[in-house]
């Protein structure tokens, strides 16, 4: 026979507050532990989220379409025809939030003083803006006005390297499909900044039609970048695109295009779990100690309950209910504390003093904590699950007392 849950809860609640000081200390420990789990996880999530978004922003897109050999040899020889009806139907469907086709070739850019190897993106500016190019990143001049714009937009860092400035002309030189030199002069119409210096230095934007004409590739493009709605699940979108393109066309998700970035997200998931378990293991010593003390103090009472007809299983149940209440109270307080400390940080934390180090990892100088309900759920599950496992030790100990011996204890 086992007492009803409501009676167990009442009994457990009163037992907890017998030694309120000990209970409050344990509650404080659980609260701080839960807060640390959630708060630190939100910071780490924010950092990884930023790294992924920065990474995707540099590509950009969740899914990319290329000619089969392009990824091994990103030259204009491996180009695609402009998207046809079947592909356009998918690209304009609900599962796509934006897309853009572009010519993307390695080129040499020269000013009157310096020259650099860069990637030339021949783009439709409307599509790029929809994909995620931030117009406010243009710090001088303007962005391209259309695919037939004859100007070029370069990064701030590249401008410094080339010792040139807005309004000056640069020469861009590449190879045509016929392996002849294809070159053209462009006037710098805009300068952009980026969180990552490598992007400022390594990418230039020009009108897609102009680049196609320069290379002599008619309407062919190097890649089609597609943006879905959630970067965490690009495979569904990739499958939809894959179904409507020819077999000699490569459709890859960002996870395939940037395995390092992709593995970071998996590593992060594992790290979060390990982090939570480590924190909880530290906490569990306190929890086991508290419950053990509570059990030792009540040996006689436990013996009495057994003498009155409570089965050993009911004693285990009673101690588990007690720990469950303790854990739930600590969780509630910890969750509330974590949420209330994260809300004021929604605008981001300035970590510019560490920006060089963070940039090496692909993160920006502002850290935006990201609280995911899955992480909240995971923290709560870890605490309740492992907490009950930790409480089993004192609970089983309590159930093992022989009534006659327990009743003799003072």
């Amino acid at each position: 026979m086992v007492l009803p849950a409501s009676v167990m809860a009442r009994l457990a609640w009163r037992n907890l507050w017998r030694n309120y000081r000990r209970t409050l200390i344990m509650l404080l420990a659980i609260t701080v532990g839960v807060w640390a789990m959630i708060f630190m996880t939100a910071l780490l999530r924010g950092m990884v989220d930023d790294m992924v978004n920065q990474g995707i922003g540099a590509l950009p897109g969740h899914v990319q379409v290329h000619a089969l050999a392009y990824r091994d040899d990103p030259s204009i020889n491996h180009s695609l025809p402009a998207p046809q009806k079947a592909l356009l139907d998918v690209l304009n469907s609900d599962q796509v939030s934006a897309w853009s086709s572009r010519v993307k070739v390695p080129t040499m850019i020269s000013s009157e003083y310096e020259n650099r190897g860069v990637v030339l993106l021949g783009v439709d500016p409307e599509g790029e803006l929809a994909l995620g190019f931030d117009a406010s990143d243009i710090i001088e001049g303007r962005f391209l006005s259309g695919p037939d714009d004859r100007g070029i937009v370069i990064g701030r860092k590249l401008m410094q390297r080339l010792e040139t400035r807005l309004g000056k002309r640069v020469v861009v030189m590449s190879q045509s499909p016929a392996n002849t030199i294809a070159d053209r002069g462009f006037r710098i119409v805009g300068v952009f900044r980026a969180e990552l210096e490598g992007r400022e230095e390594g990418i230039v934007y020009a009108g897609r039609d102009v680049v196609q004409a320069m290379l002599g590739v008619a309407t062919s493009v190097s890649e089609i970048a597609v943006l879905g709605h959630d970067y965490r699940s690009p495979e569904v979108l990739a499958s939809s695109v894959r179904r409507v393109v020819a077999t000699d066309v490569d459709v890859s998700s960002w996870r395939e295009l940037d395995p390092y970035l992709s593995s970071m997200t998996w590593v992060m998931d594992g790290f979060v779990l390990v982090w939570m378990v480590v924190i909880f293991l530290t906490l569990s010593f306190g929890l086991v100690n508290t419950l053990m003390m509570a059990v030792f103090e009540r040996v006689r009472e436990i013996g009495l309950m057994r003498a009155l007809g409570m089965r050993p299983a009911a004693i285990v149940y009673e101690v588990l209910v007690e720990s469950m209440i303790l854990l739930t109270l600590g969780l509630l307080a910890g969750d509330l504390l974590a949420i209330s400390t994260l809300i004021p940080l929604e605008e981001g934390i300035d970590v510019s003093k560490l920006s060089q180090g963070l940039e090496m990892m692909g993160a920006s100088s502002m850290l935006y904590p990201l609280l995911q309900w899955q992480d909240l759920l995971l923290a709560n599950t870890v605490v309740i699950g492992l907490g009950l496992v930790a409480a089993l030790l004192p609970a089983l100990r309590a159930a093992q007392y022989r009534p006659v011996e327990a009743l003799r204890k003072t």
Binding site: M1, V2, L3, P4, R18, L308, G309, M310, R311
Partner: protein, 230 residues
């Protein structure tokens, strides 16, 4: 019909090199509705016998039957059920649950038995009134005197109408007035509800209340007499 039959009970304790005889070949029969006092000096085996009958302690040898059921063969959970349904305990030190009120302490056994809330409350209020604790239902043990706590313990022992009440030195911590009241209560319950009482005590005033007096010494029954009293 005999409520309790003990046959050749033996229980020994090792204390250093010496073997202490807790129970030394004890055999006795207790009729349903009997009011019996176990007497004898400290260490004579009274408590050991009560614990063995109540299934709180194991035996080295011998058999105990309660209403025909072999207690010495039952497992932990079955023993718990036996104590829950058929036996009421009254201890020397009251042994109330400190975080529960008088009413909740009395209710406790019925809660474990799964008695409905309405019936539980009604029976608990009635029994507390019967033991003279009306109006003290919400007091916690530390707000009651020793005599009042012992009455709560008695109320708890009998509220579920067990067949057998085992009381171990129930008057040891009580003054003579409280002792008189408690023994009167035991006698009334014995008469009204036909509950079998087995009381361990070395207090001659308590022994005088019993209809049958069993004397113990060194773990053995040395005297078993019927008395005209209660």
């Amino acid at each position: 019909m005999s409520a309790v039959i003990c046959t050749d009970l033996c229980k020994y304790y090792q204390q250093g090199d010496a073997v202490i005889k807790g129970l030394d070949h004890v055999s006795l029969e207790i009729e349903q509705g009997a009011f019996i006092c176990l007497s004898g000096p400290s260490g004579s085996g009274k408590t050991t016998l009560l614990n063995a009958i109540g299934g709180l302690d194991s035996l080295d040898s011998g058999e105990i039957s309660i209403d025909g059921e072999r207690v010495d063969l039952l497992g932990k959970s079955a023993l718990a059920d036996l104590r829950l349904k058929r036996i009421g305990f009254v201890f020397q030190a009251y042994n109330l649950i400190p975080v529960l009120s008088a009413l909740e302490n009395v209710e406790f056994v019925m809660l474990v038995q799964g008695v409905s809330a309405v019936e539980r409350k009604q029976r608990s209020y009635n029994i507390l009134r019967e033991v003279g604790l009306e109006g003290m239902e919400d007091r916690r043990p530390d707000q009651l005197s020793g005599g009042q706590q012992q009455r709560v313990a008695v109320a708890r022992a009998i509220v579920s109408q067990p067949r057998l009440v085992l009381a171990d030195e129930p008057t040891a911590n009580l003054d003579s007035q409280s002792m008189e009241k408690l023994m009167t209560l035991f006698c009334e319950l014995n008469r009204m509800h036909k509950i079998t009482f087995l009381i361990a005590s070395h207090d001659q005033r308590v022994i005088a209340w019993a209809g049958r007096s069993i004397g113990m010494e060194d773990g053995r029954v040395i005297r078993d007499e019927v008395q005209q009293v209660c």
